[in-house]
Amino acid sequence: MSVKLNTRQVGDVSVVDVAGRITLGEGSSALRDLIREMVGKGQKHILLNLGEVSYIDSSGIGELVSGFTTVTNSGGQLKLLNLNKRVKDLLQITKLYTVFDVHEDEAGAIRSFA
């Protein structure tokens, strides 16, 4: 399954439910395009829910970094929610786990956007 992206609004936070594979090609470009589109519309608080992500490769990791930088440079915040063990392990060995603000509880993640 390639990536599926579903966006919903919770208060002033845009939650993106990501499912499937974030890999080089369609998967990573779809996420990149969505984040740029959201930033272009002025959305400042973006929460990526990665709970249903089955696989992510180095290109996908690069897109998370790219998204983080894009949102941060626009004055916003991008946070991650519900990392499974594999994604968490990948972010840890690439030393990116501490770069991102990672949450396990959606309500808490929503509240953390100030």
Binding site: L24, S58, I93, T94
Partner: protein, 146 residues
């Protein structure tokens, strides 16, 4: 790593087009052999990702999606070693020139983590230039713990 005494040695070889579809095919082929070799889910994930990253390098950086160039995939296992060899027909790639992705100044780069992940997930990783041109990488996962 998992001890494997009952799985017969196996060798599989393919010539693949320089496309992203070939990346998926190579991963599936390697994983099918790795499953028969008896690796657990954690090792299968590591092998699959190492093959994927190596194939991306061969297709994207090596052959540069050139429809006239092929990627050779060889997967084999003995009772002790699971070996994957991936060779492209490109002009060569300076892997040594890839910056350390863990260096603080490189952490926020959007690329350059593939080789690091391969090295992290496999027990051995080698690369060599092929004659007249191309790059061949060899990935090894130990079937039996050392």
């Amino acid at each position: 790593m998992r001890e494997n005494k009952n799985h017969a040695p196996e060798t599989l070889e393919r010539s693949l087009d320089s496309t992203l579809e070939s990346v998926d095919s190579a991963e599936e082929l390697a994983l099918s052999v790795a499953q028969r070799a008896g690796f657990d889910d954690d090792d299968l994930m590591k092998i699959g990702m190492a093959v994927r990253e190596s194939m991306v390098n061969a297709v994207v950086h090596g052959n540069r999606y050139n429809a006239h160039k092929k990627v050779r995939l060889l997967v084999s296992h003995s009772p002790e070693r699971f070996i994957i060899r991936i060779a492209d027909e490109g002009e060569g790639f300076d892997y040594a020139g890839v910056p350390n992705p863990l260096a603080p100044e490189n952490l926020m780069r959007t690329s350059g983590r593939g080789i690091f992940l391969i090295r992290s997930f496999m027990d051995e990783f080698e690369m060599r230039h092929r004659e007249p041109q191309g790059t061949e990488v060899t990935l090894v996962k130990y079937v039996v713990s050392k």
